[in-house]
Subunit: 330 residues, 2 copies
């Protein structure tokens, strides 16, 4: 595997972070990675996880830097390091306090999902039987995220909540990690309606490489994946597309249990605990970006479009998304 | 009372904040005020208090701005507003976690006392029978505060802890609110030994206007106060001196109980609850700065020295103190 040029971006990873993983990001030429900090954690344990990131930034300053602004993303590129953009997959860390959005922003959080799989205080996740849409508190949080420059992520939202949010948000939003429902059926995937609304509002979709989001799971071929990208690009245009691998490298299976159940569910363990599926062999870690580049070229994409989808689209989008809006006090 | 020129600084206030108080700061010509956020609060309630400040900064943006950097202090001056510098009188908000120093710094805290009146995890307060000095954790926190640019405040420290800290700190420290023990006896006041060590290391003393720190309490005259300032200036030089009023304007007496007892003491209430003493009539609120200016001129100070002690010394000192040291990651 040859080291690709720098500048690619992964729109979402949730790895069991280590120096080896950061080194692989560098080998892969990733200039930025959006990293999940919390799923079902409240505010206080989320702060502990941010502290752990602060130490990582100091311990591995030769490989990674905090990715909080356009300037940080540029600095990562120019110094051959990876900007780590911290994000939350669930709004539990803000509790019921609008003021905690700005607090978490000041601590470096730049992306937040309004819902994980379940109903949240802000809106509805994709696994609920009924989606009643964006709540009153949800509308306040959307306004606040717009104001301070925290990107709204709808990856795990129910469709009505997602459409409500796109309509309510004055800034483009993202679905950082998902695939189209036209390729793999299911409510977790993005319907044509949602994909169109997302693109029409200037949003971004990051294509997931998580096997449960791939048409044939772990056996999905690179060419099938790249054909799907090609069809999606024909439908909404290359400019709205990137990668959000959902890579869960080196995570123990307990992490999957936490993602699925948090503290709210205690399922029957008769059939044993769930296990992470195997990654497809062409995307086992960040270095798989080179394989995707090759696959996209084989699927007929021009070199500039490959670069756009593997990096420059997210670069442009994140730079705009993290900019504070209007007359901030600081 | 005429409105004095802008640029004066109060090195410490703990008022029951309101728009009226911020308006008085403007009338007084205060370009910066160090405001206490917490005494006996832990991390989580301190975050709630920071959130309350964030809303104040938005609700009263015409009067106050966050004071976090030299640039903020300059901006306050040039826009005729007061920079509010947030500080902690106790290290309880960092719990036992070195990483929370940087977290609170990112949330805007720029000053922290290593001890309030009692023993803390970092060192000893002035009310303990024995002061065993700066602890192991205390030395780590001093190093971290030095690194990120959070000012060390020794106002309530025991003398040995204070001297240990001055020796351990690689940057100048402050006693933001106190008076010399040579003027009013007592362990809460600053001994000649400590005053000399503070000045020799480039530190600052803010003169308190809290009656319990004044020689004759509420009856202390302006000329007595200014004579004391003159003697202190002869001893250590004008450059190390400022005002740190310890003004507790509009606070209910419960606030005094909280300051004294927190959650650690439940004293016999046979004699009723303690009450705040009356301020001397020449310093009832921030506008008393004009009276002090007059008093200092009457005591023989040149106009430039009055300006230095009422504002420019703290301005210079804070600008340097808040600058991150060495190669910060950001």
């Amino acid at each position: 595997m040859t080291a690709p040029r720098a500048g690619w971006v992964d729109g979402m990873q949730y790895c069991n972070w280590s120096r080896r993983i950061f080194e692989q990001m560098r080998e892969a030429g990733l200039s930025a990675v959006h990293a999940t900090v919390a799923y079902h954690e409240g505010f206080r344990p989320t702060v502990d996880k941010i502290v752990a990131w602060n130490w990582r930034f100091r311990d591995h300053a030769d490989l990674i830097i905090p990715g909080r602004s356009a300037a940080d993303l540029m600095r990562a590129l120019s110094s051959n390091r990876t900007a780590i953009i911290l994000g939350l997959q669930n709004p539990l860390p803000i509790e019921d306090d609008l003021g905690l959005v700005a607090v978490l922003h000041e601590l470096g959080i730049r992306v937040m999902q309004l819902t994980y799989n379940n109903q949240s205080l802000l809106g509805c996740g994709w696994t609920e039987a009924e989606d009643s849409g964006l709540t009153k508190f949800g509308r306040e949080v959307v306004r606040e995220m717009n104001r301070i420059g925290m990107l709204i992520d709808l990856s795990h939202a129910g469709e009505r909540t997602a459409l409500d949010t796109i309509a309510a948000s004055q800034r483009p939003v993202a679905i950082t990690h998902a695939t189209p429902a036209s390729w793999r059926e299911g409510k977790r995937q993005v319907s044509d309606t949602l994909l169109k609304a997302l693109a029409d509002s200037g949003g971004m979709l990051g294509f997931s490489l998580y096997p449960y989001h791939l048409r044939d799971g772990s056996a999905t071929t690179l060419s099938s994946f790249c054909e799907m990208v090609a069809r999606t690009a024909e439908s909404v245009g290359v400019v709205h597309l990137g990668i959000g691998s959902d890579l869960c490298q080196d995570q123990p299976d307990e992490a999957l249990l936490w993602m699925r159940e948090g503290k709210w569910l205690r399922a029957d363990r008769g059939q044993g605990k769930p296990e992470f599926p195997a990654q497809p062999p062409w995307f086992e870690d960040s270095r798989g970006f080179a394989n995707i580049a090759g696959g996209l070229r084989d699927a007929g994409f021009a070199a500039a479009d490959v670069e756009a989808m593997l990096g420059t689209n997210w670069q442009r989008f994140f730079r705009a998304a993290f900019r504070p809006w209007g007359e901030g006090e600081r």
